[in-house]
């Protein structure tokens, strides 16, 4: 049973200060458009993430507008400048007002 809103953030294992790293985020969400019907021919109501915030340390570094045109169980990846050891947080909010949060720590390799 999928857990709606579960957010996974993938960053490289080994990061050094100043690296430009690839951040990949996976969120479990149906992203229903509202145009499909269920087995009883009833319309499945729209249910999708529409607002995404990416926080790194104290700052909001990116914001994404999403629609139901993003595929089910959304995936997005982008590049981040790893300038500080801090938490990287991905907060998404859907059209029903639910808020989902996932977080990972950016830590620099010691050697």
């Amino acid at each position: 049973m999928p857990e709606t809103g579960r957010t996974k953030i993938v960053v490289p294992d080994r990061i050094q200060r100043g690296d430009i790293i690839r951040v990949q985020v996976l969120v479990q969400h149906p992203m229903d458009t509202g145009f499909f019907r269920d087995a009883n021919a009833n319309l499945i109501p729209p249910w999708f993430i529409q607002d995404v915030r990416v926080r790194y340390g104290d700052a909001e570094v990116a914001r994404f507008e999403w629609t139901s045109g993003i595929s089910k169980d959304p995936m997005v990846s982008f590049q981040l400048r790893a300038e500080q050891e801090a938490s990287l947080t991905f907060v998404s909010r859907d059209n029903r007002g639910n808020e989902y949060t996932g977080s990972t720590e950016i830590k620099f390799a010691t050697t």
Partner: protein, 169 residues
């Protein structure tokens, strides 16, 4: 006599059309190559605005400013078998520095019910634009990737993607 002139005219006209068709066939074939194989893309003219929904996005987000073609690259399969999951890669050589950076990237699917599928808004803390995501497509459509810089410039790339299975409902 009249017949032979008619015939010659017909052949001349048809010959030109035939040549045009042959050229179109060649360029059409090159467009169907997988994105990864295309080394240089044919410079398509900017696709015309197809409907009011896309016009509204242009009015609201770009306010009639000039959109130049280049400096941003849109990569997608030119034939998307499943409209529910269509991979998208957007890259740009535009600088990401404190004084000049890519402020936003817009992804528009002309013939989707809600054409502005996603918009990314960045700060300079984000690295050079290299974005991946998966989108839905209702049917065959032009796709527009438009980057807006902090200085107000707009750069775009366009691809026509063919879709058979409706991913939007």
């Amino acid at each position: 006599m009249t017949d032979s002139i008619e015939r010659r005219r017909f052949l001349q006209a048809f010959g030109i059309l035939g040549l045009a068709a042959a050229i179109e066939g060649v360029s059409g074939a090159s467009k169907r190559l997988p994105a990864a194989v295309r080394l240089s893309r044919p410079g398509p003219d900017d696709p015309p605005i197809p409907n009011e929904a896309v016009q509204k996005i242009y009015d609201e987000r770009f306010q009639g400013r000039t959109i130049q073609h280049g400096k941003v690259t849109l990569d997608m399969p030119t034939m998307a078998e499943d409209g529910r999951y269509v991979p998208v890669v957007i890259e740009s050589e535009l600088p990401m520095a404190a004084d000049q950076y890519v402020k936003s990237v817009f992804l528009i699917v002309d013939h989707n019910p809600d054409p502005l599928v996603t918009a990314f808004h960045f700060t300079p803390a984000i690295g050079p634009v290299k974005l991946q995501t998966r989108i839905k497509m209702k049917r065959t459509s032009w796709i527009r990737a438009i980057a807006e810089t902090s200085t107000g410039e707009l750069w775009a790339d366009y691809l026509k993607v063919e879709t058979t299975l409706n991913g939007c409902g």
